[in-house]
Amino acid sequence: MTSALALYTAIPLVCLAGSLIAGFFGRILGTVWTHRIVILGIAIAFALSAVYALPRTMAGHDLDATVYLWGRAGGLPLTVGFLIDPLTALMMVVVTFVSLMVHIYTIGYMRGDPGYQRFFSYIALFTFAMLMLVMANNFLQLFFGWEGVGLVSYLLIGFWYTRESAIFASLKAFLVNRLGDFGFILGIAAIYTVFHSLDYATVFAHVDAARHARLAIIGGTSWHMLTVICILLFIGAMGKSAQMPLHVWLPDSMEGPTPISALIHAATMVTAGIFMVARMSPLFEQSPVARSVVLVVGASTAFFMALLGMVQTDIKRVIAYSTLSQLGYMTVALGASAYAAAIFHLVTHAFFKALLFLAAGSVIIALHHEQDLRKMGGLRRYMPITFAATWVGSLALAGIPPFAGFFSKDAIIDAVSYSTLPGAEYAFAAVLAGVFVTAFYTFRMLFLAFYGEPRMDAHTRHNLHESPWVVTLPLVLLAIPSVLAGMVLIRPLLFGHFFRGALYVRAADNPLTRMASHYHGVLAFIGTAFVSAPLYLALAGIATAWYLYIYRPELPARITHHLHGFYTVLRAGYGFDAVYLDGIAASARAAGRFLWRVGDVQLIDGAIVNGTARLVGRIAAWGRRLQSGYIYHYAFAIILGLFVLMTFFLHRG
């Protein structure tokens, strides 16, 4: 093992070590030593990622190496190994940084919880699994990390396991993700069938040769194998990155403690699907059909989930629907072949969304675990740091220059306008309209929580105060990149050579090269925004929110009343949950009950097994004169049968 590989291996392992120590010895160590040890591990992982992995890959030293041979099956070597290139290094920095912030924040948020050590064990395990996912150099390990983060997500959504709503949400999240993983594992199997390898490098090197491979699916129809592979892999991404119609688990995942909503269900795990598709860009570039699917699914998610954000009353659910919508934006970018823009938005979103969630968490602790926006209001006087942090996060999310989200979102909208795939017009309209809706729901939340008259009860109001430093420090540290990341990163990520070969785009339809020709620096980019639609849509959204929730706060109730039907549809989330619960889950249970009661009990056991027994009984009753006693009848039948069959066989030869 080279020293580089050893150092890279150490990065996930320190997280795993922290998790195991917290899990097995947490009780002995006590709360303080548990979080000290776990945070030390995460800090080491962050430091190694930021000062070793990132500079090293930026200097052009990629690494693609095997850690160990997991197994060799059917001649196929299956390994655990790392591919550290700029894409991976960037993800490692983002994951470990947000994770570190969330770990520190957890000290404040989970103080006094009986599961304190267990919580630290889980989030450190999550960081380990997420790192294994982004560092993988093959599909097997990718799937390991993929399901590993899913496991921890399940454990953390159901962290408060005595709450019925939490354990329901955790099971739902796991099963919906499994629906996606079902596609994902078939995609991996398809890759094995076509390429006889699961290593990224081998697969990508042979993409050209596989271009003409086809797969017969039903009757005479056959599909391009690469399209099948891409769509199957994307189904996995739809589960993990919560794209319609597999998005239903993410709003419910808010049942988990807020730190994990920030880390897992906003900043990192849910972006695994985006990362995976970007990683697979050499495959997706071969299939316009698959990219068209990606584009349409992403655009639908971006717009329709944003609409749902407007009617939520739970502060965390507003941000959750916002996350869904923003993941849709990233997905649209993938479909438009602007992989770099998707990753750019992934990075800025990780900062400002983690910031918004942690700020919301700060509000929630201050209000003694009250999450209902209708019981907030006027908090700006009591919680200045949280208030400022929410402003920064909201401006970034709404896409106001020069905050981080502005650059990445504008880049995506720009890129879609260049796309010529079927569905591109729809996608463009959706992401553009989404800008208005995003700004509206974001500032609706901000105004409802921090402005107007306080609506909480008097006792809570008297005890309101800013959260402790372990909570506010991460807010400040996340606010900085939420402001700066866009300006700093736009040039290297979108128009520079940061990613080099990590993201592959066919030259002919590379939207970023076209955009690069118009790019004349950060200030010019901001200047252009003032003469294009998105910025004005965002400002209009903010203005509308201001008008409805500060200037004329009595209006929303009247609008809701007049648009009752539309409002009901939005509150019901378009009925997806009903379809899953009353449609799919109920029919699976009904089918199970039918197959059991009718298939097993009545047909197989009733008619055949016991029926045979009855038949034997009847024959036996008839033959009672010859023999007596039950077991002898069976023995007689057996010997007779044996004799007949033997005779038959021997004569047939």
Binding site: G74, T162, G592
Partner: protein, 498 residues
Amino acid sequence: MDVYRHIALSIAIWLPIVFGVAILLGGRRYPGLVRPLAAVGALATFLVTVPLWGLFHNDSFAMQFQESVPWIPAFHINYALGIDGISLPLVLLTSLIGVIVVMAAGPAVKDRVPEYFAAFLIMEGLMIGVFSSLDAMLFYVFWEAMLIPMFLIIGIWGGPNRVYATIKFFLYTFLGSVLMLVALLYLYFRAGETFNIISFYHLPLGETPQILIFLAFLIAFAVKIPMWPVHTWLPDAHVEAPTGGSVVLAAIMLKMGAYGFVRFSLPIVPLASHVLAGLMITLSLIAVVYIGLVALMQDDMKKLIAYSSIAHMGFVTLGIFLFNRIAMEGALVQMISHGFVSAALFLCVGVLYDRLHSRAIHDYGGVANRMPIFAAFMMLFAMANSGLPGTSGFVGEFLVILGAFKVNFWYAVLVATSLISGAAYTLWMYKRVIFGPVTKPSVAGLSDVTGRELSFLAVLGVAVLALGLWPAPLLHVMTASVHHLLWRPGVRLAGVTP
């Protein structure tokens, strides 16, 4: 070491039987010695089998550790033993589970204690005999004899409906194996009056006899696995069996049917195996899909795990009849993994049953509040049962899915539905039993695992994780044998090139 090579298998078979008989004879007089003696017997057997792994030549498909002495010379029946890379892991699994069941027989076993341990030890020896016989008649004797202790275990230490379950089990399995005996006799005459299994491999058989022999074997093996639609004895047997009986039944006995296909059907009647592969694949896929749905609706935890076993064994039979190496190796890994996981889940139910005397899911809820360590272990095993990567349950399923896609897209789609159904029935059960608030006074009185329970759960937990994180050693052991099975000179079973 040379001596060991020639007696190891015999010791592994007879040592537990000798201990079992000794306990049977002396247990009444020295009741205090029964448990220590049983523990020593099981542990010694396990230790005897461990060096088999180290001394095994991984690169050879040949039978190793062979022994052969004439047994009934008049009919050329030999006491012939030997193992290859397919049977070695099963022998080790058996001896490990032997230790586990002895550890698992806690204070809950109160009646006829000497007979209980004797039955398990004798059964262990007989099962190792099944996996290491190279003479078909010897195999048949072990195969039938091992059922007797199992009948007794269910019939004596079983639940209230044990008589029905025992008779059902007996009829199914006994009727099944009678036809196998017919087929073996036919082969005996065709091979020139020998029961040597390896010599059966070289018989030039026509298509019709091949198909008839295949069907005769099929009934015997399909019942044992069990395959749909001859599976209905298994849930009943599990429900009535005591915990140890369920563990052995699920972990070892179900594997014998699959072992039979690999040891007998495929190599002896390759043509028929090919011709009837479609049937086998169909039945396997039905097992995965149909049983996956049925398992969802079970309220009895043991029934649920029993149905889950049938679905998981569907992966095994599918992997065997896809005729490619990756699927076959997946099937064999799945057999070992299922041995660990199903044993562990039945033990978990046993831990709960010993405390509350109920297997009904609705009698529990919120167990995690009272038994956090137990909840953590059961989570691990539930996840393994759902095929989570990093646990043994993933390895076999993953390889079978890879192999299935290679053969047919739809096979892969159908078998991969277990990713969803397996997680659904396992985790839904887990949620209802372990999570939630404590609402029942009986659950409020639960105490966490004892040291004894912790030790056997930990052993299986380590096994599940080790196999999940590093299956390479297990895969390596079987590679040569699987390759030989599919590409034996002159008989090309596999449809695709290696």
